[in-house]
Amino acid sequence: MNIKPKILVVDDKPENLVAIARVLKDLDIELIKATSGNEALKATLHHNFALALLDIQMPDMDGYELAGILREEEKTHDLPFIFISAVYTDNLNVFKGYEKGAFSFLTKPIQASILINRVKFFIEKHQQEIEIYNKNQELQAINEELESFSYSISHDLRAPLRALSAYSKMLEEDFLPVLNDEGKRLLSNIQYNAKKMGNLVDDLLAFSKLGRQDLKKSKVDVQQMVEHILHDLEQSFPHHARIKINAMTPALADHSLLYQVWFNLISNAIKYSSKKDKPEVEIGYFSDNDGGITYYVKDNGAGFKMKYKNKLFGVFQRLHSPKEFEGTGIGLAIVQKIINKHGGKVWCEAEEEKGAIFYFNL
């Protein structure tokens, strides 16, 4: 973008405006002049300013009042100011909203070099902000593209997959009697893998949908949520783990997404401890020194080597074979994505054959 940054200069005396324009003439900027607060407000309707230079002593509306109004307006609430005052004052109280944004003071008579430096500083800052904004827009667009790509991929993969599973089933229905044992084994391997791929595609679809979902935060009763999940899990896959729930504290989170986090972490803990003689799972939280809440799920199961901990949260990354423990490797990727969306963090500690603890905050 090669648009010159625009600067608003407000002073009730035209000769002062001319003087400031002369000082700033070598800068690559566009000056918009106003001789009153009202004129300045009008100018903000037509222009996007990088900086405003405001005279303080003006009739009708003084510089502080003008700045206060500009801070209230959505379009200008980030606009930095340089106040130009005949007398030095540190009485900031008169400027409502001073705490909301950047500003600076200069006293008359203005020294040219100081004014130029200040203006340059704010212009640079403004340009950096624009750059960051543009980069963010770009990233967001790329992200959206990526998400819709993975969505359509997983969609289009379903059709041939359905054909694969259908034809192998038809083969079984029509020709099973003439197949020998080896033929049957090969056929069942085809079916097993088609089913597995179906699960992968479903998981990928769920994962990509997650990226497009908006957060709806509310106060969540974590205790109730965890109990609910344990009840659900007992119905869907019976286990013999001893589960200890410590008293839980509520969280501010998206209800259904947080449910998924807890569900994945708890079902993992149950799954990976299921081969122990006495599987144990503990669920709880603790407060950090600064009042932050960290939740955890601990098990005494298979664990893993800590050197692999970075692989744990990748999509379809697994540290155990499907023979040892079933799964596609999407669960923790989903957990991490949800927690990142909340602005939180998830991490873990583990030891092979001793167990694992997963921690997260929101």
Binding site: H155, R158, A159, P160, L161, R162, A163, S165, A166, Y167, K169, M170, G198, V201, D202
Partner: protein, 139 residues
């Protein structure tokens, strides 16, 4: 049946046959063929309402003319708008569902990736529209 995937068409036909639903099935491979069949004059049924089907299964994502365009034609034409139209698609996208309903489809069924479940969906849907539902009669 307006369906561009031969394998999906085969699954549908097989499922109907196995369930002893013996109605004749006319298979059209894409939206263009469907428009020709219903509204063209050269071949197919043209304007002969006696040959209108009792039920239309239609896929959404098809080459040349997609399912939604065909549905729009079928549902705005005075003659064909009475034919029950069932969307049979793998799309669960909200916008597809809304659009199809806005155009006046009679049912929206999502194809299952699982063969057995898919077959059952087809049979259940066909049985409902052919055996349970009472359609208006052309005069």
């Amino acid at each position: 049946m307006i369906e561009d995937s031969e394998s999906d068409a085969e699954i549908v036909l097989r499922a109907l046959k196995k369930a002893n639903i013996t109605n004749t099935v006319k298979q059209l491979m894409d939206g263009e063929e469907a428009l020709d069949y219903f509204f063209g004059n050269q071949e197919g049924l043209g304007q002969n309402i006696l040959l209108y089907p009792k039920l239309i299964f239609i896929d959404l994502k098809m080459p040349k003319v997609n399912g939604l365009e065909v549905i729009k034609k079928l549902k705005t034409n005075e003659e064909t708008r009475l034919i029950p139209v069932v969307v049979l698609t793998s799309s669960k996208e909200h916008k597809d569902i809304i659009e199809a309903y806005k155009l006046g489809v009679n049912s929206y069924v999502v194809k299952s990736a699982d063969y057995e479940r898919f077959s059952k969906l087809v049979v259940d849907t066909a049985s409902y529209w052919l055996l349970i539902n009472h359609p208006p009669e052309y005069e």
